[in-house]
């Protein structure tokens, strides 16, 4: 997001982008109660879609800008092989985001089930409030292994701190990243256009998202 913001500013020097980070569910209820944001980007397009259904946001401004990917992540110091870590009987805690409300947590749970691993790790699951907290649980060593977003594993702050194995995309439902313009103006339209432009997509692809129509 930092890089998106930087590049967008380069293309539109007169517009300054300010981002607030948090969970989709939280922002959903804040926006629902009149939070003064211009645009809403969510890891699950369902949240902006629901807002739109409830009459919030600019009509026809809903868009999907990427497809999220999940990986099995272990810290660099760990002796576990990320591709086999979830089958290892010696692991004590597996961190995922809370499937009840975090899109990446839902994907992680679905992947565990479709890979036939859920029964083996069910009692070892610890839930982060969001995928970033699940990542923090593993990074601190409190959990042995975690299922996190590829975009997190590739983020500058995490690079080099661990190893990962990407879970095949067909093992879990698509995590469609969606956006909605809450206030329609030339600036917000420019931002939406930038995200789906070649430049915006290039950044998103580099940070671990698939583009919607490729898959």
């Amino acid at each position: 997001m930092e890089e998106v913001s930087l590049e967008f500013h380069r293309a539109h020097p007169d517009v300054e982008l300010r981002a607030s980070y948090g969970s989709s569910g939280n922002f959903y209820s804040q926006i629902h109660n009149g939070a003064p944001f211009d645009a809403f980007l969510s890891a699950d397009v369902e949240y902006p879609r629901r807002l739109l259904r409830e009459g919030i946001g600019a009509a026809d401004s809903l868009f999907v800008y990427g497809v999220g990917r999940i990986v099995v992540w272990v810290p660099a110091a760990s002796t576990l092989d990320p591709a086999a870590a979830l089958r290892d009987g010696g692991i004590r805690h597996v961190a995922i985001a809370n499937p009840q409300h975090a899109p990446y947590g839902r994907a992680a749970e679905a992947a565990l089930r479709s890979l036939g691993l859920y029964g083996g790790v069910e009692r070892k699951l610890v839930l982060g409030e969001d995928v970033a907290q699940a990542f923090a649980f593993v990074e601190s060593g409190a959990a042995d292994v975690g299922i996190v977003a590829l975009s997190l594993a590739l983020a500058p702050a995490a690079r080099g701190k661990g190893r990962y194995w990407e879970i095949p995309l067909d093992a879990y439902p698509r995590i469609e990243q969606g956006g909605l313009l809450l206030k329609e103006s030339a600036d917000t339209r420019a931002f939406r256009a930038f995200l789906v432009s070649a430049a915006g997509r290039g950044i998103l692809e580099r940070y671990g998202f698939y583009m919607p129509e490729n898959r």
């Binding site: 969970s23 569910g25 939280n26 959903y28 209820s29 004590r92 805690h93 961190a95 809370n98 009840q100 409300h101 699951l125 610890v126 839930l127 982060g128 409030e129 907290q133 923090a136 649980f137 601190s140 060593g141 409190a142 959990a143």
Partner: protein, 225 residues
């Protein structure tokens, strides 16, 4: 759907935290109230820190401090074979640290308010310090001790940020009632969240009101105060 499992867990956590805090907090409060040491203010400041630090920050550092890579976590693993993060014991340790000022401060002020002449008289009569504490200080400071215990219990019932950071949200082990309410709200299940909140609110209000009512009656009947 009311999450009874989470409610029961919170009650157990709050009760255990309060018991431990009374055992640890009373000697500490006694020392703070009566020690002549000049550097006492440093200990007072450390005890009050959890009031100032954001719970999530406190929780994050507790997670690091009790994790398997820390000396504390490594020692605990050697002694018990278990791990503190994501366990009831870990949560208990975190809650004790987090609620420490809520026990120690009221009790220390109550101790300090006991008339020094009574203590000296007792000591001059050859009564030991422990017996003096039991027969003079503790009865006179009982309202303060009760306040400390109630505040710790209430504070632990409503504890959120610290649990969020070190708990891992495991049903029946670390998913306390505040986490359960948060989950319900995050999952947009506002009706369930409101129901559990109302229950928590009603129970907390009843407990607090009853305690204060009892305290009043009790103290007006108590001959020494």
């Amino acid at each position: 759907m009311m999450d009874w499992q989470a409610i029961w867990l919170s009650v157990r956590l709050a009760a255990c935290t309060t018991l431990i805090l009374l055992a640890v907090g009373m000697p500490l409060a006694y020392w703070l109230a009566f020690s002549p040491r000049r550097w006492k203010f440093l200990v007072e400041a450390v005890v009050a820190l959890p009031l100032v630090l954001p719970p999530t920050v406190l929780g994050f550092y507790i997670l690091l401090a009790i994790g398997p890579r820390s000396p504390v976590g490594a020692l605990y693993a050697r002694l018990t074979g278990g791990m503190l993060p994501f366990s009831f014991q870990g949560l208990l340790l975190a809650s004790v640290l987090y609620s420490l000022p809520f026990t120690v401060q009221p009790i220390a002020s109550a101790f300090a308010a006991v008339d020094g002449k009574l203590l000296e008289a007792s000591w001059c009569l050859g009564i030991s310090r422990l017996a003096t504490f039991r027969r003079v200080v503790a009865p006179l400071a009982l309202p303060g001790i009760a306040t400390g215990a109630i505040l710790s219990f209430a504070h632990t019932m409503g504890e959120f940020g610290v649990v969020l950071m070190v708990g891992g949200n495991i049903a029946g082990v670390t998913r306390t009632v505040s986490i359960s309410i948060y989950d319900q709200a995050q999952a947009l299940d506002y009706a369930a969240a409101a129901q559990t909140s109302m229950f928590l609110l009603a129970v907390s209000f009843t407990v607090l009101a009853l305690t204060y009512a009892l305290q009043r009656r009790f103290w007006s009947l108590w001959p020494m105060s």
